[in-house]
């Protein structure tokens, strides 16, 4: 049985303006993605492999509409994301960033971070959600990720790297997205922690029926984790398998 198509990039190109610091105006444009085309089926893991500066993170920025200026089409669930509001998009797509240390605000307790997330969730669905249900969901997720409930009253600096990264993943999946984008989610963690987080990711993917885009520079890791891999070199897909 063929799974349904979740995401499609159709000849997407993106350039950034290059400013002159002396003249303070746009001098030229730098092409970072050129005619990128790929498809991603529901429930699969797409690996995006490439060197630093090859344009990997830019792909994530386009899907999440952090960058909205580009040519070509990005289709999510049969809808061009240009025609989707940020709100609608947020119901479908969530992201985990490169550095677990910078993605959590050091001034807030974990409980607060998660409650913020719930409020966000409530707003997305015009408050027509059951708060109780969400709190249960958080407890379930904590339990599932083997994080003790006491962690809720800790500040980020009191957690280990692996705990922080699990909280970041938890934040990303509270909103029950269809698509989760992971941008080098492991590269600052100890090897044994990396293995733990990878195992969690495999597990929650099945449990919550997620689709992943996994951005990495590590070929071995991509081959282990992904169903399909696209290799990006200087903004162009140079290998697709």
């Amino acid at each position: 049985m063929k799974n349904s198509l979740l995401l499609k990039f159709d000849s997407v190109s993106k350039s950034y303006p290059v400013y002159s610091s002396i003249l303070r105006r746009v001098m030229s444009r730098k092409l970072v993605l050129e005619k990128i085309t790929f498809e991603l089926e529901e429930g699969k893991v797409l690996g995006v492999l490439g060197a630093s500066g090859s344009g990997k993170t830019t792909i994530a920025k386009l899907i999440t509409k952090i960058e909205e200026e580009y040519s070509g089409r990005i289709i999510l669930n049969n809808i061009n994301i240009k025609n989707m509001t940020h709100k609608e998009l947020a119901k479908n797509v969530s992201m985990v960033f490169q550095n677990p240390y910078s993605s959590l605000n050091p001034k807030h307790k974990i409980r607060f971070v998660l409650e913020e997330r719930i409020n966000q969730y409530a707003k997305l669905y015009n408050n027509k959600i059951d708060n109780y249900e969400i709190k249960e969901h958080i407890l379930e997720l904590l339990n599932y990720m083997k994080l003790p409930a006491e962690i809720l009253s800790c500040y980020p600096h009191q957690l280990s790297g692996g705990q922080k990264q699990r909280i970041a993943i938890l934040c990303a999946i509270i909103l029950k997205p269809k698509l989760l984008i992971l941008d080098e989610p492991l590269s600052s963690l100890d090897i044994s922690l990396q293995a733990q987080i990878l195992n969690y990711l495999i597990d929650i993917k099945q449990k919550y029926n997620l689709t992943y885009i996994f951005i990495t520079h590590d070929q071995d890791l991509a081959e282990y984790f992904c169903d399909n891999i696209i290799k990006i070199n200087k903004g162009v897909i140079c290998e697709n398998n």
Binding site: S187, D190, I191, S192
Partner: protein
Amino acid sequence: MDKKILESKNYSLSYKIDNKKKYYILRNINIEIFKKQKVALIGESGSGKSTFAYSLLNLIPRDEIDFCGEINFYSDKICCKKKFLLNFSDEDELNHIRGNHISIIFQDPFSALNPVFIVGKQVEEMILNHNKKISNDELHLKTKSLLKSVKLQDIDIVYKKFPHQLSGGQLQRICIATSIANIPELLIADEPTTSLDAQLRVEVLDLINSFVKKNYMSLLLITHDLNIVKDYVDYVYILYAGEILEHGHGNVLSKNPLHPYTQLLISAYPDKTKKGKLLPVIEGQMPNLTEKKFFTRCIFFNRCPKKIEKCNSLVPDFYKAGDSFVKCFLYEK
């Protein structure tokens, strides 16, 4: 065989937590580094790697620690041949050794630099520290060629920037430039690449490696990632919870790990042969190092999948197995 440049002999260190409690973070560390040799110290977060590096340079305030054993530094260049840095009380002489004979690249390049001075001046400062007689023109030229040698671009612009105006990769290059400015005999790099973007890591390691080679320096590379350094170093020590558990040649050790801990560590690396399977995880946690009772048995006992009866009541010695040395009863002859 080249001469020894550094050796730690039964070196132990504890942090004083309060009047009653101590945190026994390093225990009986024996490490040797020879001239021109590149040695890696591998350990996970909290294993004591940075503590070892900092104490080696006497960078930890004396009233926070207790230590015993020795760390000796043998230099060709200083008249006194054997230097136990931890016994130095003369700050000036210590400062001269740091930077000129042994220097260190820190984990976080941002905190290693002074935020209120432009980076170019900080590199010049380091050169002046070694050679006070250098003329202004020479100083400027030398600084520029250093910045060029760490492959920084737009040197004239970078020179005048404050640390917060530069990227992590640029900052780490500046730090490398300051630490090699005076061509030390021993360079210590403490997780020089963890704060960097993944791809930059390889570039920075290449850079450090080429400097060490070109100037016949010795290198102590500290990291949690055995995979990324195995091709750069000659010899590897595996540190766990403050103890060395295995040491041997880098390639041998990564291909054929012997200690149960090293084996687990290496099997946790993902690759395509493991596709579809969960990766092995080291269950449990590092023992609480404030409690001495854990030091009367193998330190890996509570997490070891291969433990045998005697592991619970005796501490293993190092046993030779192949070309490696392993602190585990399984290799007892």
